[in-house]
């Protein structure tokens, strides 16, 4: 049918490959045992998203996306991981992340959630000739797994990284769905992310200063 008439283009192949890398990195974050490696994985994931921006810019001829790819590389691959790694160096405690379930259980759950996201989002009636539907499903899977990361990990660094990778998932979706999004809007999104990172950093520092730990187990006073 449509797929037969339009032979699979290099565009959709490339997009799907990179989207798959992003999802696999998300899984690696899920099972990473050190906060540091989690942050490095985030950096790698952002690199993949920036590469996708370059790829879409080249194949779809959207010049603005080169600028976006450059900015996203500087901010998400270099600046944000550096800020978080410096926070980790300063705090010097429990570099190992903590989690509520065993690693195997978490990864199994993540697979279930990712499959759910992939098929539900991939099955949406979102069609256009240039749009690779599997890549959109992969973006949905990344977003759902990032939620799982925030829910199942119980330390502030993992939760913050979970939020940052949620943003990567949304970036992925926006590259697939809305490559033509005006540059000024994209830049505003990125700038907002940077501000959010600074606020997360401040709060992680405050939390560590009060409780001498990065675990969220102490954050259970407010209920009801």
């Amino acid at each position: 049918m449509a797929a037969v008439v339009l032979a699979p283009s290099s565009f959709s192949d490339g997009t799907e490959a990179i989207a798959l890398v992003v999802l696999l990195t998300e899984f690696a974050m899920m099972r990473a045992s050190l906060s540091r490696s989690q942050v490095r994985l985030y950096s790698f994931q952002s690199l993949a998203v920036s590469a996708l921006a370059v790829f879409v810019a080249a194949t779809q001829h959207v010049g603005d996306l080169y600028v976006l790819a450059g900015l996203s590389f500087v901010l998400k691959v270099v600046v944000v991981p550096r800020i978080v790694l410096r926070l980790l160096r300063d705090s010097r405690v429990d570099l190992a992340t903590s989690h509520r379930l065993g690693v195997a259980t978490m990864v199994l759950l993540a697979i279930v959630v990712a499959a759910f996201g992939f098929f539900v989002v991939g099955g949406l009636p979102v069609h256009s000739p240039s749009l690779p539907a599997p890549a959109l499903g992969l973006a949905g899977a990344v977003i759902l797994v990032s939620f799982l990361l925030v829910i199942l990990r119980s330390d502030v660094v993992s939760q913050a990284v979970g939020f940052f990778s949620l943003e990567n998932g949304v970036s992925l979706a926006s590259l697939v769905l809305a490559a033509g999004l005006p540059l000024i809007v994209e830049v505003a999104f990125l700038f907002d992310l940077l501000v959010a990172v600074v606020v997360f950093g401040v709060l992680i520092r405050v939390h560590h200063g009060r409780s001498q730990t990065l675990s969220t187990d102490a954050l259970d006073r407010l209920r009801g």
């Binding site: 959207v62 949406l124 009636p125 979102v126 256009s128 977003i143 939620f147 925030v150 502030v156 939760q159 913050a160 939020f163 949620l166 943003e167 949304v170 979706a173 926006s174 769905l177 809305a178 490559a179 033509g180 999004l181 005006p182 809007v185 505003a188 999104f189 907002d192 501000v195 959010a196 600074v198 606020v199 997360f200 401040v202 709060l203 405050v206 939390h207 009060r210 409780s211 969220t216 102490a218 954050l219 259970d220 006073r221 407010l222 009801g224």
Partner: protein, 484 residues
């Protein structure tokens, strides 16, 4: 009039930056001046039809003005309150640093909320609301207690995840538009509305649900409200007042912008059903939670969840009178809830706590702000002659003409349950006998003044809203598709 929205963006920002360096008293004076000026600028926009500025990036229509007036009113009233309320203890230099940071944050918070109402397009709207999150999260954490740290962390994490979903909604809506406008276009409201009728229905539906889920997290709709009671109870009271009265409303404004486009694309039936579900859950659960609170500020926080539910339910009725009621409710809730929080601040200054079991005889100990707090709670419970009575009356009568009797019954029962919870705790804490040992008298004339302002506005909205305001609400309702 194009200068007016620009001034609204420049003044609070400049004052916020100035407060960071200026001496504390100058910062307080500047904050008050900026609050009053912003409110005047917002009121000047009431009679205008549509104001645009900065080559279309700013656009103020009747719907924006309703929310802008609510935010600016909160800004001005909170500025008055904060001058009397903020008295950090400790050595003078750290106290001065606390005050400088606090007033800088307060102004920037107000600036971000005003920005959300005047920018044009769902993308910039998202940016502005994200800015409100980061500024207010720092303000929640500013007291540096265990509770404040915990509340700030939960708030920033949950609200940011929610806004991540809202960003996805924006992207999906952009995709819906790109099927009509081509790959590259600006997400301005008139542009989206002009093409909405040709957007693919399934995609618009997805975008709307994501938007309600995402912005609903910030608005405090059940079941994504979980950060709200913590943040409202642990934040400094002026911040709680602004969050409850304006921040939640601004998030509702974002949902309404998606509602407009969705209604233009697939008709209003689907978005109404979605809002009805979230609204009923919010009113019902909040009414039950209200009965089991032990902290005055937490009590008012759950009351906010209830009122946000009322807004969502109100939008699910097709009668134009209900939509007018919803918009009036935004203004009335801002006035009533800020007065209640200001009263809680007065109580906290007098009794050193907002724990319900530690407060006795509030009216005796606080001769002016005590009775005003009781009146504010009556106002929140939709008693005449206050504004919330009028707005909820409009909403319920809209439901009865619709006809949606079952939903109207649920709404009335929920609101009544909420009133029981609110009045039970208020009568226990405020109307009981005052212990001999409790000092009497008002902690600050500024607090009394701020409460008088809030209560005055609430009464005016209830007794006789100014003609221009009624006209504004009718125009805003027709922008939302409600036509007689």
């Amino acid at each position: 009039m194009g200068w007016d929205p620009i001034a609204i963006l420049v003044v609070p920002f400049a004052v916020g930056v100035a407060c960071w360096w200026a001496p504390v008293n100058l910062g307080k004076a500047l904050t008050l001046a900026s609050g009053v000026l912003t409110f005047v600028l917002a009121v000047l926009l009431v009679p205008a039809r549509i104001t645009t500025a900065l080559s279309g990036w700013l656009r103020v229509d009747a719907l924006s003005v309703v929310f802008l007036v609510a935010a600016a009113f909160l800004y001005a009233a909170t500025a008055v309150f904060a001058i009397g309320y903020v008295h950090p203890s400790g050595d003078p230099s750290s106290a001065a640093r606390y005050s400088r940071r606090f007033f800088a944050g307060l102004n920037l918070f107000a600036w971000a909320m005003a920005m959300a109402t005047v920018v044009n397009g769902i993308a910039l709207l998202w940016v502005a609301i994200e800015v409100t999150t980061v500024v207010s999260a720092l303000l929640v954490a500013i007291d540096d207690t265990d509770g404040a740290t915990e509340a700030a962390w939960k708030y920033v994490l949950i609200a940011s995840m929610g806004l991540g979903v809202a960003l996805l909604a924006t992207v999906v809506m952009y995709y819906a538009g790109s099927t009509v406008f081509g790959n590259s276009y600006e997400l301005f409201y008139p542009k989206l509305l002009s093409g909405a009728a040709h957007f693919p229905p399934e995609v618009v539906r997805l975008a709307f649900v994501l938007a309600v889920l995402g912005y609903g997290t910030k608005m405090g709709l059940v079941p994504v409200h979980t950060w709200l009671p913590d943040a409202h109870s642990e934040a400094p009271t002026p911040v709680s007042a602004m969050m409850s009265g304006a921040l939640l409303a601004v998030s509702f404004y974002a949902i309404l912008r998606f509602y407009q486009v969705t209604a233009g694309a697939i008709g209003p039936a689907f978005p109404r059903e979605v809002l009805l579900g979230f609204g009923v859950a919010s009113v019902g659960l909040a009414a039950l939670y209200l009965a089991s609170q032990r902290d005055l500020k937490r009590l008012f926080a759950y009351s906010s969840v209830e009122h946000m539910g009322v807004l969502a339910i109100g939008m699910s009725f097709s009668a134009p009178i209900a939509v007018v009621g919803v918009l009036l409710h935004v203004l009335a809730h801002a006035a009533a809830k800020s007065t209640a929080f200001f009263g809680a601040g007065s109580v906290a200054r007098r009794f050193g706590s907002t724990d319900v079991s530690l407060i006795r005889g509030g009216v005796g100990a606080l001769p002016v702000s005590g009775p005003m707090l009781v009146l504010a709670v009556l106002g929140l419970s939709a008693m005449p002659p206050f504004g919330i009575f009028r707005s909820e009356f409009l909403i319920v009568s809209g439901a009865l003409t619709d006809p949606h009797e079952a939903v109207a019954a649920v709404l009335v029962v929920g609101v009544t349950l909420a009133m029981l919870g609110l009045s039970w705790f208020t009568s226990r804490t405020m109307l009981s006998r005052t212990a001999e040992s409790t000092p009497r008298g008002e902690p600050s004339a500024w607090i009394v003044a701020s409460m008088a302002i809030g209560l005055g506005a609430l009464t005016i909205l209830g007794v006789h809203p100014p003609g221009q305001l009624s006209d504004l609400l009718t125009r805003a309702a027709s922008e939302l598709g409600a036509r007689r």
